[in-house]
């Protein structure tokens, strides 16, 4: 599971949703709002951005 000293999440609950139980929601909510605003920038093509995200996830071994 994660590198944190917490129990595994219940079956069916994603790690991101699970970790929200351990955090102040303000930073996560602010990230969500920033992400949505960034996607609305003129010239940001969603498909290209997804490819970059996938490439970065592979490079950084991110399993989400």
């Amino acid at each position: 599971m994660s590198r944190l000293a917490i129990p595994d999440p219940p079956p069916g609950l994603g790690l991101s949703a699970y970790l929200r139980d351990y955090t102040d929601p303000a930073p996560a909510d602010a990230f969500s709002e920033f992400s949505k605003a960034a996607l609305r920038i003129d010239g940001v093509e969603r498909e290209t951005l997804e490819l970059i995200r996938i490439r970065n996830a592979v490079v950084q071994s991110c399993h989400l």
Partner: protein, 148 residues
């Protein structure tokens, strides 16, 4: 005093920046005002959930890794830090985080967790990730330091 663009060391830029902006960051990132506003709110939210002194230390370390002149200038008059066990654990974590986050070890996380608790580690990680991205952005765009 109006802002003088210093992008890429030139006195002028092709970017349609607001030359009355108080800093190059505001001028450049302000080209997309909504995204920039949400970006600042995200940085502020992560900072508010973290020990400010610890975050400043982490930001300085990342700026040194990246050669981020905008951030380094903010610390130009800082004296040498006296590192606590928490500071040392955070800097060890940050050093690995910026190089390859997948190789941050359970021991590095546990050292921080012993100092901050699980919630504190998650908050610090979010803050480090948010500010790392901002510092990388600044470094890539070579944003000039804000005038004091």
């Amino acid at each position: 005093m109006s802002f003088q663009p210093d992008i890429l060391g030139a006195a002028m830029t092709w970017l349609p920046v607001d030359t009355d902006a108080p800093s190059e960051r505001d001028a450049v990132l302000g080209l997309h005002p909504t995204a920039y506003a949400r970006h600042r709110e995200f940085l502020d939210a992560t900072a508010a959930a973290t020990d400010p002194e610890l975050l400043e230390l982490c930001k300085l370390r990342m700026a040194q890794h990246f050669g981020c002149r905008e951030e380094l200038a903010r610390h130009s008059e800082d004296g040498p830090p006296s590192l606590t066990a928490l500071h040392a654990a955070a800097l060890d974590f940050v050093d690995q985080f910026v190089l390859d986050p997948s190789l941050v070890s359970r021991e590095q996380v546990a050292a921080l967790e012993g100092e901050l608790g699980t919630k504190g580690v998650i908050h610090l990680t979010m803050a480090v990730a948010a500010h790392e991205a901002s510092l990388r952005l600044s470094t890539v765009l070579d944003l000039a330091p804000a005038e004091a």
